[in-house]
Structure formats: structure tokens, C-alpha cells
Amino acid sequence: MEKVFVTGMGVISALGNNIESNLFQLKNAKTGIGKARHFSSKYTESLNFGEVDLSNDALKLRSNLTNEEGLSRTTLLAYIAVEEAIANAQLTEEELHSFDTGFISSSTVGGMSNTDELYADANMKGKPSEYVRSYGGGEHTLQIVKRHGIRGFSTTINTACSSSANAIMLGARLIKSGRLKRVIVGGADSLAKYTVNGFNALMILSDNPCKPFDINRDGLTLGEGAGYLILEGENSCRDKVKLAEVLGYGNANDAFHPSATSDEAFGPRLAMHRALESCALKPSSVDYINAHGTGTPNNDITEQYAFNEVFEKVPPFNSTKSYTGHTLAASGSIEAIFSIFSLQNNELYPSLNCKNPIREFNIQPIAQVTPKDVNHVMSNSFGFGGNCTSLIFSKA
């Protein structure tokens, strides 16, 4: 079966508006989490967020969309990252319009970032807003398909926090099946009153910037962003620069509780095992794990439990959510991109805010920027509904 390579990437997050600035911040161990400047909510004073430092108008301006209506912040973020990925992979117009080129996106918030308008429209208050056709999770997908004239398979996935990881997995599978030659995969999510209040109602938001894997961690920090990768089959990208190979992937359901992971971490363990089995990779060959690491009491301990079960010697790991916050559906693809940075640069970036690491398993996250020969990386994403996905990337 054909190998699948990553030939382009695009990202926008609290760390910056493109690949270069995101990498720069990681290399300098600088977080993007802080007080929100554009997002409007009762919680912006008290809580921290991983906000993209551009207003909606500024995002529109960047994409030459100033006069367009009905574009949610999610869509605006997605446009920018998709654009960068396409340019990075140097996809031609012909390739973009080919029936062999697909687009797989994901979002949890979708158009619901326009919370006030959604409330008015849903309750039939006043005239229909400009967003009345934009609320669905799949609407940003439509807008991007239209913008780039995509004629191949396109879809939208929502498995909560593992959504864009599943998008990457599906993209690779479609190429291996021969149905597609290349596919743009990823996800986007924007800060929204809906998710802030939802996580707050579940009491899993921290009052402080999140502390993944720290004994005193007390919740997650919400973030926003978009991350997209261009995947191409080996036979379609012979002359292109390959950034990484999508080597393996695994998906499992924890089947325990709608919003918490089982103590025995069945879902995370199975997802990691399946990812390793899918490419017959020995656990000892994994050089680094980009953990899900949200900073909630439940996730971090169960994820470490899972590491301990899957790996005889747990490889170096971090949570880059300490830089970007939890970007929800976009986290899978953004963190895949960060994992690939480590592959490309042979270095590991520290996990921030972990002063007193969890002791139970005697493992600590990466503490400083560390040069290392990195050949295989694993990236984990575990979501509500028990949806767990693990991806493995290798040097191309």
C-alpha cells in the first residue's frame, strides 16, 4: 500500500498566525496563553485563554474578505490555515480542482461562535442574522470547498477533542485506498461563549493557565485556532518536499462516561496500541509523545496510566496545550503540526507550568528545549464521548 506523506502545513493559534511564528514560540518555550483581547464574555476578566491575537475584522482583512457576510470566526481561522497549507505544499490549481483531491475538516463550535446571533435566530427574535445559514459544524467546510473549488470527497468530523486527529486518520486511509491522491485535512475552532460556559458548567476550567501533568493542576484553559495538513500519496508527490510520513493511527472508544476517562484508561491505551500495531512499530521506537494533556485532574493521570501500560519505558512527552490552550477540534491537527516540528528540527519542546509533576508513575514531562534525534512521534487526542485517537508520524 502506498505511503502517505505530509507535504504542507498551515496553522494559526495563540502562538501566532503561521507556521514560522508557532515554531518560534515553541523553540523559545513561550506560551500564548493570557487574557483575551478580542473575545467577549463575562469570563474574559477572570480566566485565561489561548486566543488568536486578531479580531474578526483583522482576520477578514488577511483573507481579503472584508465585505463578505456570514463568515464565522471558525471559518475565518480555517481559511488562513488552509491557505498557508496549500501554499506550503505548492498545490496547483489543477491539483486543487482534481476529483482526486479531497478536504476533510472538523470543528466543535463551527458557526456557533456567533452565540448572540444564534440565540436570536433560534428563538426567532428580530430579523434573520447574516449567520443564519452558517451555524452548522459543516458550514465552514462548505465555505472552504467553494473557495478552493474542491471536487473530490469532502466531509466534516465531530468527535469533540479528537476530531482533527480523526480527520488526519481518514485522509490517510482514503489515500491508501486509492480513492484520493491528495487531501487537505485538519480542523478549526474559535472561542465561543458556548464552550466557555459549557466547560465552566462542568467545572473543568482552571482559574489559572493550565498546568498539564502537575500535581496541582485543576482544569483546562480554552484556546482557539486552526491547523491543516496536506497529505499526498507517495506516487503523487515524488518531486515534492516531504515534511513527514503519516505512519500509523488508531481509534478507540473508552465506553465509560460522556465526559470523563475511565481510571484504567481503556480508550487511550487501545488507541495507542492500535496506532502502534497499524504500522508494526515497537513502542520503544517512539521518540516523543505530544500528549493530550489538558491539565484536568482526570485526563492527565489517566493518560499517564495509559503511557505506563503501553510503554515499558515511557518516551519524553509534553503537552503543547500549555502553549495554545485546548483548541478543541483543532487540537489534533495543531498538535500533529507541532509534533512534526520536532521531527523536522530534531528537538523537543518543554511542557510549561509543570513545577510539581504527578508522582504516581515516576515520569515527568519534558522540562526544557532538548536536542534529540527524533524519528517517530506519537500525538494523542482524547475527547468527550470517549473518542480516543492516536497518530504516529515519522521522518520522511
Binding site: 464574555s41 463575562k42 469570563y43 476529483f99 463551527g110 456557533m112 452565540t115 448572540d116 444564534l118 440565540y119 435566530d121 433560534a122 428563538n123 426567532m124 434573520p128 443564519v132 445559514r133 451555524y135 452548522g136 459544524g137 459543516g138 467546510t141 462548505l142 470547498v145 467553494k146 471536487r151 470527497f153 469532502s154 466531509t155 466534516t156 468530523i157 465531530n158 468527535t159 469533540a160 480523526n166 481518514l170 486511509r173 482514503l174 485506498s177 461563549k193 458556548y194 466557555v196 460556559n197 459549557g198 465552566n200 458548567a201 462542568l202 481509534n251 478507540a252 472508544n253 465506553a255 465509560f256 460522556p258 481503556f266 480508550g267 487501545l270 468527550f384 464521548g385 470517549g386 473518542n387
Partner: protein, 348 residues
């Protein structure tokens, strides 16, 4: 990929045998609500109490199948809106309590992957699990994922479903977007309607699909989809499906087609029906259930029964008859608002 078991909750009496043996529920107006079973008999109260309608329907149809087939390797669901009612209830709380102390259940249950998550939880199923939310193609996309899983040899048996609920809220939003008719129309007159807009339906159609036929209902052969096509693109898309399966248009004895009474978008259906597949008999389905984004799942349910020999359903859905051959291959063609188009091919 063979359908060996199936269940549907729909605006017809499909949960029991009544629809299949000839009963028809008449609908009039803009909303075709489902006929629901008694969930208290099916779903543990501790879980039922939290479920919004979409989750109830999905679990109501899916749980008996999960119980009858404890060896499912995967669960893949398509739902465009998920639990939108719960979503809006939470939203209302946000506004009414000004982002204060809010109850979390609505939030957790509103996520589209709650249905696949609940089915996994209730069946203790740790297999592959994904939810597609791609509007009018969410079910077709779930179906493609399932086909891939079988091709990969990753599964022997799995669950596939399409679910959508009507809530006041998603109905309101779609109404504001001019989706529905202004006037009241009877279901028997819907497809001939000369005005814009359609009617709103809902339902859950869940399937157990396997890698062996086993006296099952039908085979799901293939699926193709395209978004924002031109008519040429649409033809190319269908051609890809036919070529991949080494078929010509004449091999399609039956076309199940998504006419929904919205005259703004009929030309797509006219084109496929009259220009591309003029020799196929055509059948409708939306006069029975209204229109909703994952309604092709119901069309698959109907087709599965037709292919396995049921004829009682036919009088209610016959559109055009150009030959009297038996059912051998049914091609379902459906689009949503003329934007997302899907072809699903089933055979005996």
C-alpha cells in the same frame, strides 16, 4: 458490506412491522414528527433522563441492535445537527443567567458525537468510533468510512447510522433560511408542488453491516459524493461510481430519488432522472418522512427492504415505471439545497 439487521424510528410506523405491512401515517404541514417507541422499555432510566430527542432516537433504534450484536467492531454515525435542542437549551441558559452558574447536562448531550458515544457506552463497545457532521452528506460520509473499514479488513461487523431531530430551534433557524414551504401541503401532494420550500422531517435509521451476506437484506455497494458541482461535475461523479463498479446506466433498474417538493432544486433530480438514467424506474421517499440532512439513511432502510422482497411499501413511493424487472440494484440520489449531492448504490 451487507446489511444484516436494521431499525428505523421515523415519521412512519417503521419501528414495528406496521409500515412494512402496508400502514401509512399521513402527514400534512411543515413538520413530520417521528412515531417514537416507548423508550422507558428500552433505555435505562438513569441514562434516558438526560437524553435529548436525537440521542433518544439514536439509542432507541441502536441499542436493541447493540444488544443483539455484542460483537460490533465499530460504530460510525452521521448527524448534521447532533442534539441541537440541547444545544439551544444550553444557549438559552447562557443568555438567561448571563453566563452565571449553568447546568452542564444540556452541554454534554448536545455534542453530535453524544449518540455514538452513548451507544458505545451502553454496549461497552471500545471499537472504532467516529461521528460525521457534514450537513446533507453526513450519512453518506459515515457510509464511506464503513466501506473503507471493510476494505481494510479492519472490521467484520459494525454499526452504521443516520440521525437527525427536529427541535423548535433548528426548525426556526432553517425557516429563517427559507428552507420550508409557506403554505400547508399534504404529503401526497408534496412532490408535485410547484412552490419553493420543503417540509421538515426527522428520524434515526441504524444498520448492522457485515462482511458476509448471511441472509441479510441487501448489499451496500458503493457511495459517491460531491459539493457545489456543476451538472457536468455531477455526471462525472456518477460516472466514477459506475466505472468503479463496472456498471452502465442501464444496469441501474431503480433510482430512489430525493424530490422534496422544493421547486428551486428539482432540476437536479430531473436531470439525473430524465437525462442520465431515463431507463430506471424511480421511487420517492421524502413524501413519507419529509426532508432532513441525514434522510438518505432512511432511503437505505427502505431500499434494503425492497431488495429483500418487500412489495407492500411500493404503492406509496412509486414515481415512474418504465420496466417491470425485479429489484436488483437501487441507486439513491439525494442532494441538500442543491449544494451537497450523494449517490448510494445498493444491490441484492
Amino acid at each position: 458490506m451487507y446489511i444484516t439487521d436494521l431499525k428505523a424510528i421515523s415519521p412512519q410506523k417503521t419501528y414495528t412491522d406496521e409500515f412494512l405491512t402496508g400502514s401509512k401515517v399521513d402527514h400534512e404541514g411543515k413538520i413530520y414528527n417521528v412515531i417514537e417507541p416507548d423508550y422507558m422499555e428500552l433505555i435505562p432510566k438513569g441514562l434516558l433522563r438526560r437524553m435529548g430527542k436525537a440521542v433518544r432516537m439514536g439509542v432507541g433504534a441502536g441499542l436493541p441492535l447493540v444488544k443483539a450484536h455484542p460483537d460490533l467492531d465499530a460504530i460510525v454515525i452521521g448527524t448534521a445537527n447532533g442534539g441541537l435542542e440541547d444545544c439551544i437549551k444550553f444557549l438559552n441558559q447562557i443568555v438567561e443567567y448571563d453566563e452565571g452558574v449553568l447546568t452542564p447536562t444540556n452541554f454534554v448531550q448536545s455534542t453530535p458525537n453524544a449518540m455514538a458515544g452513548q451507544l458505545a457506552l451502553m454496549g461497552s463497545n471500545r471499537g472504532y468510533n467516529v461521528t460525521y457532521t457534514n450537513g446533507g452528506l453526513a450519512f453518506e460520509d459515515a457510509l464511506l468510512d464503513a466501506l473503507l473499514l471493510f476494505e481494510e479488513g479492519a472490521v467484520k461487523k459494525m454499526m452504521l447510522g443516520g440521525i437527525e431531530e427536529i427541535s423548535d430551534y433548528n426548525y426556526n433557524i432553517d425557516s429563517l433560511a427559507d428552507k420550508y414551504k409557506d403554505e400547508i401541503v399534504k404529503d401526497v401532494d408534496l412532490l408535485e408542488s410547484k412552490t419553493s420550500g420543503t417540509v421538515c422531517g426527522e428520524g434515526a435509521s441504524i444498520f448492522v453491516v457485515e462482511n458476509e451476506a448471511k441472509n441479510g437484506y441487501a448489499q451496500i455497494v458503493d457511495v459517491e459524493q460531491i459539493t457545489y458541482p456543476s451538472t457536468e461535475d455531477l455526471d462525472t461523479c456518477l460516472q466514477h461510481l459506475l466505472d468503479r463498479n463496472k456498471l452502465i446506466p442501464e444496469d441501474i433498474d431503480t433510482l430512489m430519488i430525493g424530490y422534496n417538493g422544493d421547486n428551486r432544486h428539482n432540476f437536479w433530480y430531473d436531470h439525473i432522472s430524465n437525462n442520465v438514467l431515463p431507463n430506471s424506474n424511480t421511487l420517492s421517499f421524502k413524501n413519507l418522512i419529509g426532508d432532513y440532512r441525514t434522510c438518505t439513511s432512511f432511503a437505505v432502510w427502505l431500499s434494503a427492504h425492497l431488495l429483500s422482497g418487500n412489495t407492500d411499501i411500493l404503492p406509496r413511493i412509486r414515481m415512474r415505471e418504465v420496466h417491470s424487472k425485479d429489484f436488483s440494484r437501487i441507486l439513491i440520489y439525494n442532494h441538500f439545497d442543491g449544494v451537497r449531492h450523494g449517490f448510494t448504490l445498493l444491490s441484492k
